[in-house]
């Protein structure tokens, strides 16, 4: 009669909640541009690691008799005026460019997360003061300041150099050896670039911390005795990480661009190290004579930036379903 519905009828279940990450991963995979970009980047990084080692030409060996030649079967990207193989140099330079991108981003991440986290957590006047600093710095052409600092302090025997020597002293046999100087300069560049881009990271982290602090479920959970760790790791962090990951991915290309820019002005990577920026800068000087010297590093750089940007965009779309494209 009017007994309960027969058992073989499929009662629609409450939809099983797909986890945030699985959803995001699924969406990301569907974004062709992002996937292609990720693949290209992976190949690029692999190339930078392997080509200078396994390639047929050494990046440092000169052949003055040969001089600069256009791309050929022997030298796929041509040679520079000293007869050095450009392809090997480009991939070697890529190591520095990627290293700068990643390390400086980590620096900016560290500073930004700390600053924003502290500001968001304490709130009140501490927060106001800290964010005021961010606001002011945001509008200031930080790069100018970096150049200023470079000019004033990054010289041999400058304050920062002494600091650097002090740090590596216990780690290497002869800190005073002048060949450490380019390393110092690169480290200076890492620090400077990281120092420029932490601002937005700080804002994002602060925003996330504040939003999470306010969640009623945090209070509710606390009131029934759920441990902080459980709340933080299972609920808060996954939500907070989203924008942070997106922004980190988008910072890398910005930093790489800035490094290239500084190198172009002679204030970034210095010889004998090379980076795409430096190679492109040298190439731009002799562009009319040997265009391949500009084209290859420039294309590598642009391609990498392109891919990072697409990937970052893809991550943003995947992690933030509100800004959906339909």
């Amino acid at each position: 009669m009017s007994e309960a519905v027969a058992d073989d009828v499929a009662v629609p279940e409450a939809e099983s909640g797909s986890s945030l990450w699985r959803d995001a991963w699924r969406r990301l995979k569907k974004n062709r541009a992002a996937v292609v970009s990720a693949v290209i980047l992976a190949m690029m990084i692999l190339g930078c690691v392997l080509v200078p080692v396994l390639g047929s030409h050494d990046y440092a060996s000169q052949d003055l008799a040969l001089g600069a030649t256009a791309p050929s079967g022997e030298h796929w990207m041509g040679t520079d005026p000293l007869g050095r193989d450009i392809m090997a140099r480009v991939f070697l330079g890529g190591r520095v460019s990627f290293a700068v991108g990643v390390i400086a981003t980590l620096v900016s991440f560290a500073i930004g997360v700390t600053w924003g986290g502290v500001a968001g957590y304490f709130g009140g006047r501490v927060d106001s003061a800290m964010m005021r600093v961010v606001d002011v710095l945001y509008t200031f052409p930080f790069l100018i300041l970096v150049i200023l600092l470079q000019v004033f302090f990054a010289n041999k025997d400058g304050t920062f150099h002494h600091l650097f020597q002090g740090i590596i002293g216990p780690l290497v046999e002869d800190a005073a050896d002048p060949s450490w100087f380019p390393v110092f300069q690169i480290c200076f560049v890492f620090a400077a670039l990281g120092g420029i881009s932490w601002l937005t990271m700080a804002r994002i982290v602060r925003g996330q911390v504040i939003a999470l602090r306010e969640q009623p479920f945090v209070e509710a959970a606390r009131s029934i005795g759920v441990g902080h760790a459980a709340i933080i790791f299972r609920h808060l962090l996954p939500n907070a990480l989203g924008p942070i990951i997106v922004y980190t991915t988008l910072t890398i290309p910005q930093i790489m661009l800035t490094e290239a820019f500084l190198s172009f002005l002679g204030m970034g990577t210095q010889e004998p190290l090379s980076s795409w920026g430096l190679l492109a800068a040298k190439g731009a000087e002799v562009m009319e004579l040997y265009p391949w010297m500009l084209v290859f590093p420039a294309v590598m750089l642009a391609l990498t930036l392109f891919c990072f940007n697409f990937l970052g965009d893809g991550l943003r779309d995947a992690l933030d379903p509100r800004i959906r494209k339909d």
Binding site: S2, V9, P12, A14
Partner: protein, 333 residues
């Protein structure tokens, strides 16, 4: 002739996950001067129905795929489904007006109230400047906004929720439309303000003779406002009739269940427990075969799982009534 006659309306959404049949065969009518309440839970398709009437269904991914919407136009009626976009634009805000659920987000935060109101007059009646301002002022006063003159120059965030909704109502009534569609206008408001807004709508209706299609999930509101009620479930109409008939002699198991789940003072004591309906409404992307309510229905029998019931039409309480159920009331246990 009815002011609005909807016949077998179907509005589907074509998404990546499949076709969502948000509205799947809905028929009802609204006459001048009467309030028809379209009732249903979230996801039943009532909002999509109202958007379909005005051709405001987001497209892509949505589209009206079938049925007709006949709207009275002088001596004849026209089918809005077939109307051109230009024709629809001239109807929107002028002959058919709509007010929405959340007045905070439904008004442009960057534009002054007066300007948003006057826009309707400008578009449909070519009225501008002082003449338009005067009309707006009159309308604001008519909807009961104190100090209307200064309010014209305010921005929405300077008004309270109740006042914003009054502004929306004023905006809808400026061109004296024939039909007013109200999509849950009081859901976002405090209870005390709710009552005021409902009164306001009723007053204006009586004065201007508009037909009102009132969409809500709140049966209390239905009891107060409705002349007739149409009950929706999973994109279909399951029952339709006069408000008294619906409340006193519900014919469809869903309507019955709904009424059992709310507290009522009119049926006296007798019941001491509210009964929630077991289960959840089906996802519109994944409707069960046959009658969509059968998984939760206490009277379900085999035909219910196979085919959607025909509409049985009859008279109840002196008014036309219809219900779509395989199991007539006499046969329910």
């Amino acid at each position: 002739m009815a002011l609005l006659e909807v016949d077998d309306l179907q509005t589907h959404f074509f998404t990546e996950e499949g076709v969502v049949k948000a509205v799947d065969g809905v028929s009802f009518r609204v006459d001048r001067g009467e309030v028809v309440c379209l009732v249903g839970e979230s996801g039943s398709g009532k909002s999509v129905t109202s958007l379909s009437l005005l051709g405001l269904v987001p497209s892509p991914p949505g589209r009206i795929v079938g049925g007709s919407i006949r709207f009275q136009n002088g001596e004849t009626s026209e089918d809005l489904v077939k109307a051109s976009e230009a024709r629809m634009r001239s109807i929107r805000g002028d002959r058919i007006a709509m007010i929405f659920q959340d007045p905070m987000t439904s008004l442009n935060p960057y534009m002054r109230i007066g300007r948003q109101l006057a826009e309707v007059l400008e578009v449909h009646q070519d009225l501008r400047g002082d003449a338009a301002r005067k009309r707006c002022l009159e309308m604001l006063e008519a909807v009961g906004i104190p100090g209307a003159a200064s309010r014209l120059d305010d921005h929405p965030h300077q008004l309270s929720g109740g006042m914003r909704q009054r502004v929306m109502i004023a905006m809808a009534l400026l061109c004296a439309p024939d039909l007013l569609i109200a999509d849950e206008p009081t859901t976002a408001l405090d209870v005390t303000i709710q009552a005021q807004i409902l009164e306001l709508i009723e007053e204006r209706k009586n004065e201007m003779g508009v037909g009102v299609l009132f969409i809500t999930h709140d049966l209390g509101v239905v009891a107060k406002m409705a002349d007739r009620v149409a009950v929706m479930y999973a994109g279909r109409l399951v029952e339709q009739g006069s408000v008294d008939a619906i409340f006193e002699q519900p014919q469809h198991p869903y309507t019955e269940a709904l009424l059992r789940s709310i507290p009522r003072i009119d049926t006296g004591g007798g019941r001491d427990r509210l009964e929630a309906i077991d289960g959840l409404p089906p996802s519109p992307a994944n409707l069960p075969p046959g009658c969509p309510f059968h998984p939760r229905c206490r009277y379900a029998v085999d035909p219910c799982r196979e085919t959607f019931p025909d509409r049985r039409r009859f008279d109840l309480d002196g008014h036309p009534h219809e219900a779509a159920c395989h199991v007539p009331p006499e046969e329910r246990g």
